[in-house]
């Protein structure tokens, strides 16, 4: 049994390593397939005025004179030693940049998920409590709005309305981390988390509604009700408890996507998260920034999936038993 367990862990670790290596190769190749390089990204059309000697000097400076395979393995090898590369634009190591931006995105993701769950789960249960009734229609309207209103539109509208009408725009101030100024930080996170949370609430609402409807038709629910279990306890303990697996799956997936960076929302609200770090890296063709950051995001996604699997075991005894 222990050998089997070890085997499964080894298999999972190997799968993770393979996934990350695939991501590394893919990002490396895709970045170089995009026209331009750090020289043209930095100089723009002025790059046309470079003499061959100037061009060669800049290629040496950015390490572009090395063969691609050498560039790839040099970068990957450095990653194993904790050297994620260096951002000439920011004058900082990519590791330092990531250590600053990843927690910001993680905080935004958690707040968004909490808001999404607060909106999606109760409304989903409400909708499922009486299918095709007015409350179900309300749930459908909310989920349709969440799915169909683009984040950029909602974000821009909220920002403009709050700033112009109420003078409320904490995001116009310099960004503060939780450690620096918790109150300002939370005020700066409110609108972006609301925009993201509203969008994510929609699939959670739909998943909750479908899962609850399915569980409600199970025999054990009828039995529990016949045995006189109070309705409130029945809905929360028996119905929602057994409907949690698909809800957790959906939440885990959405959380993973959020860690990948809610680029648009981060741009509009000037939140210095990991999505913006990747975007700026792509714009400036800072290969090391993009490659290393994407790898960190991929790793975070894998870890969230792992956490989701662990949660299955916590919430569903059948998974534990198997």
């Amino acid at each position: 049994m222990r050998a089997l367990l070890r085997n499964r862990i080894v298999r999972r670790a190997a799968g993770t390593a393979g996934t990350l290596f695939g991501v590394a190769v893919f990002v490396f190749v895709m970045l170089r397939a995009i026209p331009g390089n750090q020289i043209t990204a930095g100089l723009g059309t002025e790059a046309a005025a470079l003499t061959p000697a100037q061009q060669a000097a800049l290629e040496r400076y950015y390490g572009l004179d090395q063969p691609l395979v050498a560039q790839f393995f040099a970068w990957l090898g450095n990653m194993f030693t904790g050297n994620f590369g260096y951002s000439a634009r920011n004058q900082q190591s990519v590791l330092d940049l990531t250590l600053r931006s990843l927690p910001v995105t993680a905080e935004l993701a958690v707040l968004s998920i909490v808001l999404a769950l607060l909106i999606g789960v109760p409304l989903g249960m409400l909708a499922a409590s009486r299918p095709n009734a007015a409350r179900d229609a309300l749930g459908q309207v909310v989920s349709l709005a969440g799915l169909s209103i683009p984040a950029f539109l909602l974000a821009t509208t909220l920002l403009s309305v709050f700033a112009a009408s109420f003078g409320f725009n904490p995001n116009g101030q310099g960004f503060a981390t939780l450690a620096e100024d918790p109150l300002l930080n939370l005020r700066q996170m409110v609108l972006p988390a609301l925009v993201l949370g509203f969008g994510i609430a929609a699939p959670i609402l739909r998943t909750t509604r479908a899962a609850v409807l399915e569980v409600r038709s199970e025999d054990f629910v009828r039995t529990a009700r016949a045995k006189g279990v109070p309705e409130r306890r029945l809905q929360v303990r028996h119905v929602l408890g057994n409907a949690l697996v698909p809800i957790v799956t959906m939440t885990g997936l959405q959380f993973g996507y959020l860690l990948g960076g809610a680029v648009v929302v981060e741009q509009i609200f000037s939140v210095p998260g990991i999505g913006r770090q990747v975007l700026l890296g792509i714009q400036q063709k800072e290969y090391a920034v993009v490659q290393s950051t994407v790898l960190v995001i991929a790793l975070a996604f894998v870890l969230v999936n792992l956490l989701t699997d662990v949660l299955y075991r916590v919430i569903d005894p059948r998974v534990r038993a198997s």
Binding site: P35, G36, G44, A48, A49, T156, N169, S270, L280
Partner: protein, 519 residues
């Protein structure tokens, strides 16, 4: 929910909040006063909203708008431009050309120091100019010193430039931040981390991708020190979000290029927007070395088939002026003197007939998506107009990186572009339209006559005579339809109430930030 699940969720939330609280947004340097603090000379700090932070802090390689705007407040140049773009003394108090025009002697200002306290002298000027001319430095302004044979520093306050030929454009060329004077002890590596200039501000604090704060340089040589104790360039990536930040009072000044954003800002009533005509010009670049555009008659047909005012109205809400090649106030071209100053389809058909292309021609045209706000709209307007003259503009809309790649390689028949203008027409066009110009491959056109005119322009110091020469340059370019000049737009300086002293300039410079205060 089972207690275990709740605990796991709570653990995840706590962990990420703990991670967030551990994160630091400390800048790379915090030697100056904290943002928001008032300096020794009083005044309130100024916050400028920008969409991006500088991509480099090394002035000789800076071409990005945001980088140039920050660096020109940190570094000094031998000459400067005043608000009307006249060349005025900077670190050089005066300069004299020899009678044959082949020697330029500059007298340096005394008592100037760098931000690190070291003295500025002629050794720094010689070192800076020598390094800019060295190809290994890859300085972008190297070509502007092509007439300089050698730099001599006979004493601490004098610099002598020996020229291969007279160069009247040289004083203007010395005024750009790409010609910033650096200490001979400094290196590129050192300066990209810690700028060390002679400008009115010094670097206070930088938080990558978030903000860069400059603090007043109390040792600045100018008669007036900077009015604000600090200027923070705050990065707000979206222009509409900058408008919101101004409405809520968090940002006091911003410069926009998109007329639509400017209109939005003005609409609220709390922000004042001033528009300034720009030296930059919107143009349909034709590559006369490729395909059907090699025939001057085809190019002239394109010229006659375009109503520039209509392009301006449809693509840029009418915000700009139809222009000829020279956009600098002292050399401005008269657009009415070009062939077909108004749209003339009959004449366009004649030209196509002369080229033997009465059936029509197709011109592959590259357009950038996102490089500037009006590019695609301009291209579509041009396409619609030219179609009526049987000229098919085959548009290839490219992501800005791909556009730059193709433009740099001159891999296009035509390109819809927004090109930077300079106060001196030699700086604007000498590099494009002289046969040995470093951008001539991209310009796609040169002639002996243009070579001669540009050489004459450089050798002539009399302003009226130079204006006449560059009028001839403009006529030669438009008579041959080397490119199709369309219009030059405005930049929009938005300020909140209480901001005083800022003077927008036609070259987009923010050098008057030193005179700007917030009450």
């Amino acid at each position: 929910m089972p207690r275990g699940a709740l605990s796991a969720a709570a653990l995840a939330a706590t962990l990420s909040l703990a991670l967030a609280s551990c994160s630091s947004s400390s800048g790379s340097d915090s030697s100056g006063p904290a943002p928001g603090a008032e300096g020794t000379g009083g005044g309130k700090p100024l916050v400028v909203g920008v969409t991006s932070d500088p991509d480099t802090l090394f002035p000789w390689k800076a071409t990005q708008f945001q980088a140039v705007n920050v660096l020109q407040n940190l570094y000094g140049t031998l000459t400067e431009f005043d608000k009307d773009l006249n060349v005025v003394p900077g670190l050089a108090e005066s300069w004299d050309a020899s009678e044959d025009g082949k020697t330029l002697t500059l007298k340096l200002r005394q008592g100037v120091t760098f931000a690190d306290g070291s003295a500025f002298d002629s050794a720094d000027v010689k070192s800076s100019l020598d390094k800019i001319m060295d190809e290994k430095t890859a300085a972008v302004a190297r070509a502007s010193l092509s007439s300089v044979k050698s730099v001599e520093a006979p004493d601490a306050n004098t610099v002598v430039l020996k020229l291969s030929a007279p160069d009247a454009a040289l004083p203007a060329n010395l005024a750009t931040v790409n010609m910033a004077m650096l200490s001979s002890d400094d290196t590129e590596e050192k300066l990209t981390a810690t700028p060390n200039g002679t400008g009115p501000f010094t670097l206070g604090k930088r938080v990558p991708s978030q903000s860069i704060t400059l603090t007043r340089n109390d040792a600045y040589w100018g008669a007036e020190k900077a009015k604000s104790p600090s200027v923070e360039f705050r990065v707000i990536p979206d222009e509409s979000s900058i408008v919101s930040a101004m409405q809520s009072g968090n940002v006091q000044l911003a410069v926009f290029n998109d007329p639509l954003v400017a209109q939005t800002a003005e609409g609220g009533g709390t922000i004042t927007v001033a528009k300034t005509p720009q030296l930059n010009y919107h143009v349909l670049q034709l590559n006369a070395r490729r395909g059907e555009l090699g025939d001057v008659n085809v190019r002239l047909a394109v010229q006659c088939a375009i109503d520039r005012k209509q392009v301006l109205d449809t693509a840029a809400l009418g915000e700009g002026e139809v222009t000829g090649p020279n956009t600098a106030p002292a050399f401005k071209s008269d657009p009415d003197k070009r062939p077909c100053p108004t749209r003339d389809l009959a004449k366009a058909a004649d030209y196509l007939g002369k080229a033997g292309k009465s059936g029509g021609v197709t011109i592959k045209t590259i357009v950038s998506q996102g490089e500037y706000a009006t590019s695609v709209n301009e291209a579509q307007s041009l396409k619609a107009q030219l179609a009526e003259a049987k000229i098919n503009l085959d548009l290839e809309v490219l992501e800005s990186g791909a556009f730059v790649d193709r433009w740099v390689a001159a891999d296009f028949d035509a390109a819809v572009a927004l090109n930077g203008g300079r106060p001196d027409p030699d700086g604007s066009y000498g590099r494009y339209f002289t046969s040995d110009g470093n951008l001539n491959k991209v310009a796609g056109y040169s002639s002996d006559k243009l070579d001669k005119l540009f050489a004459e322009g450089k050798a002539t110091t009399d302003q009226a005579a130079r204006k006449a020469i560059y009028d001839q340059v403009a006529a030669e370019l438009e008579d041959n339809a080397a490119w199709i000049w369309l219009f030059s737009g405005y930049t929009y300086t938005a300020t909140t109430s209480g901001v005083q002293g800022f003077t927008p300039m036609a070259n987009g410079s923010l050098q008057s930030l030193r005179a700007t205060s917030v009450s």
